[in-house]
């Protein structure tokens, strides 16, 4: 075990959200950044909520921390009172340099993983997450790519083969890896449909655009429809800065 990937696990700690079944086992080989957060209305100062809720929230987080540690992960724990949950998740991801954020949904024992590959961008981070988490678990990994119209089959296969090699370099048993290419479909629908046969999905984060603004990030959309845990691999720090700067 050399390089545990940092994975952010956000939990709305005071709203009865807990750690779903199967997630601690899924992240057994990770460095878990356990983010307990509580969203409060604007009428309330965050410090006010802290005065009242800190003790209870910390108690719960400690329980969750134990669950993850028992499963084998190393854990770092943060508690945040905020008006804006998304901002808190994004900031914590950047500050702790997390490779991926998990959308925590329940799952059974993890036996097969779908890895949705969008393109060559960010593929190294994707590889580090997959190899780090599943390298020693003996699960079967399916690399999946939805090709767009002006992309040849060779391009798609080269992309997946490149990732397969990289995973092999990082210590994943390549005999457990399958590849699969679909084309001429809406990638999101395709991923959700393909995901049905799998226990968990690993996918990349999209660049913010009008459609992500209207419909939400694809990771969350997939998680809503797939109902299992989704690991959303974050863009590297350089591009994250560009995304957060646009705000003012």
């Amino acid at each position: 075990m050399t390089d545990r990937p940092s994975i952010l696990v956000p939990v709305r700690v005071l709203e009865g959200e807990s750690v779903p079944e199967g997630v601690p086992e899924l992240l057994a080989n990770a460095h878990v950044v356990l983010l307990g957060y509580h969203v409060i209305p604007e009428q309330t100062a965050p410090g006010q909520a802290q005065m009242q809720f800190e003790e209870r929230a910390t108690e719960r987080l400690e329980e969750y921390e134990t669950i993850f540690e028992d499963a084998g992960a190393t854990v770092e724990r943060r508690l945040v009172f905020t008006h804006d949950g998304q901002k808190t998740i994004d900031r914590t991801t950047t500050e702790h340099d997390c490779l991926a954020v998990v959308v925590p949904n329940a799952t059974g024992p993890v036996e097969d993983v779908l890895v949705a590959v969008r393109g060559a961008v960010g593929i190294d981070r994707l590889a580090r997450v997959v190899a780090g988490l599943f390298g020693e678990m003996g699960v079967s990994v399916t690399l999946y790519h939805v090709a767009h119209a002006d992309e040849t089959d060779e391009d798609a296969e080269t992309l997946l083969a490149g990732l397969e090699d990289r995973l092999g370099d990082l210590g994943l048993d390549t005999s457990t890896i399958e590849t699969r290419v679909d084309r001429d479909r809406d990638p999101l629908d395709a991923i959700v449909e393909a995901a049905d046969a799998f226990d968990t999905v690993v996918m990349g984060e999209s660049d913010p655009s009008l459609s992500t603004f209207v419909f939400g990030m694809p990771g969350d959309q997939v998680a809503d429809r797939f109902l299992g845990p989704v690991l959303v691999v974050q863009r590297g720090p350089a591009s994250t800065d560009v995304a957060t700067d646009g705000e003012e």
Binding site: M51, Q52, E248
Partner: protein, 475 residues
């Protein structure tokens, strides 16, 4: 990211055995950090400006022009300019203090840490009550606008609905703040945006008209038609229009990149509203002359708009007036609740006062503690008195903030490391303090009397309830 450590260690207990909450270890651009708990900062520059402008613009433009013109004639323009200048002289030192101590509670926090608990208690309790007076004043203004709507619709009521409507909205606002979890900040930003657009359009037309472009021309008039002294008393009266910038400091704990955004939001909002006020008074007095404007009272701006643009103009300004007074009242109630929280955090009020409601996550005790007394104040219906008492209590705080800055700079404690430093030290804060205290002298005796009583009661409360609590930073 600039990390600052905060070393002011509060100590002691109040009569109920509660001690002040410990100070945070580190303040960053994005959070306030206590051990392994973080408080997220979520208000950006736009949000900060909207709080400042939204609180201020309601009064200066939609309530005071008629009253001010009646008191000072055309020279009311100068009164507003004086008010703006004093506000600016205070906003600069406040910015420095806020970047050194970006915590909830604003002026109260700075003064209690810089000058000790007694001053802090007087200012903190005074701020809470002052905000109530201000909110009541905005609500009475709102009542005037709502009754003007009835008049406009031709509904003749056998009684004046001003106070009734003010009470109704006061109660509704309190209930909304307790039960509503809607995104109020976004609404506030949008309201301020709409107001600025409507006013810019209206005032541009008014200025062009006043200089004769549309053939209307100015009503010629002597500038100091009421003499020189009323200019200063009017400045004291209308200073209520400049109370909002300090409300930015009451949410300083929630502002992102406080070192940059706090000074910009405070100084920026003062500059923006000053320009709007001065132009508004100029346009209004040009249209009618001070005498007729004075007769229109609180809703004089509606008549000015009618004169320029007919019925649509009157309707637009009526709508804008309702929005503006509503948003000012709302912002004041929320700030008052933040003030209660800051006091209870420091054990100057019972901890219970900042309790958060489990169902809505809102501080219902603090909001009721603000909303309840407001209704009593609204019931008096005394626009000028409410405004002056609010100004009095704020001016005391402003003056003391300037003094606190000078005290802190002279003693230069290790923890005092503001990222923004006031230009022209020590002249600016000294003049700011003198101007703040000086303006009080021009108020009515009744307002000064009520203000002094509030301060005295605040001090006695501190001696009785929390005499052992020390909040001053290590100096």
């Amino acid at each position: 990211m600039v990390d600052q450590s905060v070393d002011a260690e509060p100590a002691g207990q109040n009569i109920a055995g509660e001690a002040p909450v410990e100070e945070p270890e580190v303040v960053t651009d994005d959070t306030t950090v206590h051990d392994d708990v973080e408080l997220e900062r979520t208000i950006g520059l736009v949000g900060g400006l909207a709080i400042g402008i939204g609180t201020m613009i309601g009064a200066g433009i939609f309530v005071f022009p008629g009253l001010a013109a009646d008191n000072a004639g055309l020279a009311a323009t100068l009164s507003f300019a004086i008010g703006g200048l004093i506000a600016l002289l205070v906003a600069l030192p406040t910015s420095e203090l806020a970047t050194a101590m970006p915590r909830s509670g604003g002026g109260y926090y700075f003064i209690s840490r810089g000058m000790g608990t007694a001053y802090g208690a007087i200012v903190g309790l005074g701020l809470w009550l002052g905000l109530m007076f201000a909110a009541a004043f905005y609500l009475v203004g709102l009542g005037h606008y709502a009754s003007a709507v009835f008049t406009e619709l031709g509904v003749a009521l056998p009684f004046s609905p001003v106070i009734g409507i003010g009470l109704l909205f006061g109660a509704a606002l309190t209930a909304l703040s307790i039960g509503g979890t809607e995104n109020t900040a976004k609404i506030q930003n949008a309201v301020v945006g709409v107001l600025l657009v409507v006013l810019t359009g209206f005032l541009s037309y008014g200025v062009l008209d006043a200089v004769g472009v549309f053939g209307g021309g100015t009503v010629p008039e002597q500038f100091f038609s009421r003499g020189y002294f009323p200019v200063l008393t009017t400045a004291a009266l209308v200073f209520t229009s400049y109370l909002g910038f300090a409300q930015v400091a009451t949410v300083a704990g929630e502002i992102k990149q406080p070192g940059r955004n706090l000074p910009l939001a405070m100084v920026g909002s003062v500059l923006i509203v000053t320009v709007f006020y001065v132009v508004t008074i100029f346009v209004a007095t040009s249209a009618f002359g001070a005498d007729r404007l004075g007769q229109f009272g609180e809703t004089a701006m509606v008549e000015v708009a009618r004169d320029f643009l007919g019925l649509p103009g009157a309707v637009a300004i009526l709508g804008a007036g309702l929005l503006a007074t509503f948003s000012s009242a709302n912002a004041s109630i929320l700030s008052a609740s933040r003030a209660v929280y800051a006091l209870s955090r420091d054990a100057l009020l019972p901890r219970k006062a900042s309790e958060v409601n489990l169902r809505y996550g809102t501080p219902h005790v603090a909001l009721l503690a603000a909303g309840g007394p407001i209704l009593v104040l609204v019931a008096t219906g005394q626009v000028e008195l409410l405004a002056e008492v609010a100004s009095f209590l704020h001016l005391i705080m402003y003056g003391l903030m300037c003094v606190a800055l000078i005290v802190l700079r002279r003693r230069d404690p290790e923890w005092y490391t503001p990222s923004y430093r006031v230009p022209g030290y020590p002249v600016v804060p000294a003049v700011g303090a003198l101007a703040s205290f000086g303006l009080i002298a021009f108020m009515q005796f009744a307002s000064i009397g009520i203000g002094v009583v509030v301060m005295l009661v605040s001090y006695l409360w501190y001696r009785y309830y929390a005499g052992d609590v020390t909040l001053k930073g290590d100096i």
